[in-house]
Symmetry: C2
Subunit: 313 residues, 2 copies
């Protein structure tokens, strides 16, 4: 099967089938030199590109369906982290060989992750390589000036994180635990990301460990933060670990794809009233003047090694 037939079979047809309604603003999708998109009125384009390499971003033996899901998820998570509405993706995949079963599973996982927000596949590339590698580019739209950046945190803001953190890192070291799906099927927080537009003062998604990622907000916003260790949101699985080990996973484990954000206390009250019960959020600390992150435990500063994931250490 040649490249064109391959793309046709597994991605173009699936892309069309995955569209529940007529392509919304997609003037031209897969099959030309480039896709053509009509920008919605008064919106800004949000765009990001992330690569997943076999053996580095997922274990070599990960199921194709999970690889497909995760390839979409980590990019949609970046769109969520801007407070934008995810819109479309381009998929560039390098494959050691053409395995129809693998491709069918991969594309099903990929489209399953895109489906909830009607994210459309509009382009990409398929190449042969000795190493499985996937680069997805994700596009989103956000009202002019409403994107949530990293540089807006202010002293007095609360620091929050969605759901629980540290589970994916635990799953990486303890295969087949109760939290395996947190590693294989991360859930991009797109609904929450959109809801936070107009409320959060800064935001990012947690991919390299909460402490390191929160550090990016602090650096970009020129502020400091204190985080209460006992407030870190832990799954029931991590709650069974010794506290120190659970905190380490929660603060330095990667691959969470939860949202970490800051918000003025008054805005948080308003957000909770408007979205009562819709999202699981945890206040873990607050922003102060200064620089850096300080951990506290039972009203005392607490020292921990906070080395996060470094792709090139």
């Amino acid at each position: 099967m040649n490249e064109f037939a391959l793309i046709q079979h597994y991605f173009k047809h699936a892309a069309l089938a995955a569209q529940n309604e007529p392509a919304n603003g997609v003037v031209l999708g897969i099959g030309d030199d480039a896709a053509i998109v009509q920008p919605p009125a008064n919106q800004q384009l949000v765009i990001t590109s992330d690569t997943l390499v076999a053996g580095r971003h997922f274990p070599e033996n990960t199921a194709a369906h999970a690889i497909g899901w995760k390839s979409a998820a980590v990019n949609l998570s970046d769109i969520a982290a801007m407070g934008a509405r995810p819109y479309a993706v381009l998929l560039a995949i390098s494959l050691p060989q053409v395995d129809p079963d693998w491709l069918a599973q991969f594309s099903q996982g990929f489209f399953a992750c895109c489906a909830p927000e009607q994210v459309q596949l509009i382009g990409g590339d398929t190449t042969r390589s000795n190493l499985l590698s996937i680069t997805v580019t994700a596009l989103g739209w956000v009202e002019q000036g409403k994107a949530i950046r990293r540089d807006g945190a202010k002293p007095g803001d609360l620091v929050l994180v969605s759901n629980t953190v540290g589970d994916a890192a635990y799953a990486l070291h303890q295969p087949n635990s109760d939290v395996q799906a947190r590693l294989d099927y991360p859930q991009p927080q797109n609904r929450l990301g959109m809801a936070l537009s107009g409320y959060a003062s800064s935001m990012l998604d947690v991919s390299d460990g909460l402490a390191q990622d929160l550090g990016h907000i602090l650096a970009a916003s020129h502020v400091a933060a204190t985080v209460q260790l006992e407030n870190l949101p832990l799954s029931s699985t991590l709650q069974q670990l010794p506290a120190q080990q659970a905190w380490q996973l929660a603060l330095t484990g990667g691959d969470d794809y939860e949202l970490c954000f800051t918000m003025a206390p008054k805005r948080f009250d308003q957000f909770c009233q408007r979205y009562a019960g819709q999202f699981q959020l945890q206040v873990i600390g607050h922003i102060t003047q200064g620089t850096g992150l300080t951990l506290w435990h039972q009203q005392q500063p607490y020292d921990m090694n906070l080395q996060g994931y470094q792709h090139f250490d």
Copy 2:
């Protein structure tokens, strides 16, 4: 050096330095979860993503500067092929190791290719991998409805190609010839692509061989074409080869990144008047009713093996 310092040093600073004027519509570039772009009024977004893998899309021993150039060029070429104005790129690069000299050369080549049209680097990703692989996503803008697609060729249209074809394929088999630069430093035809908006009825860039790529126009437009072999534009280097060999290279050699397009004869007259002498264009045949490509030589149909580059054969 960690991932963040790496990106900062070689790409973010260089991206800023490469901008001759304040970022035109780029609200937020490298350094957040995603870039933010303000779409120009009444324009449509054109977007494409292409991967280059070491040993497949360029010889392993290719200079870093040329790899950087080519990574940008093949994607800007796709924007040219839509008749759009190239605007910005995202660079996702997977590297076996951090080699400062290599990165400096790569980024210089990359930005050198982006500079003529003030194309800005607005995002991307850097990952470690055992295999050098680069995926670039290129963005362009085109007036609403003015993009040049593959499906607009009409019987009676002329078939044209820019500059010369077959040189890159020759260089691949004959290293260090006079046309080596055609392989290492393909020139994206962005000025020509923009000029052709409103004139060409269909267009694509020649990356997998002229015959195969023209075949995509024919299939998408539901038309046939005849091409005169003696009209194929050949460099002086290819003109020294036996005619059959030169035609084979011109028709089936990949990596040309020239534009192949169709245009009504009357529109071609108007184009020539408006852009007299600015572009080197060659009429190689014309569009007819029917399907498929027929080659002619001295008023006779001519049979040739026209197998183009198939990534997954």
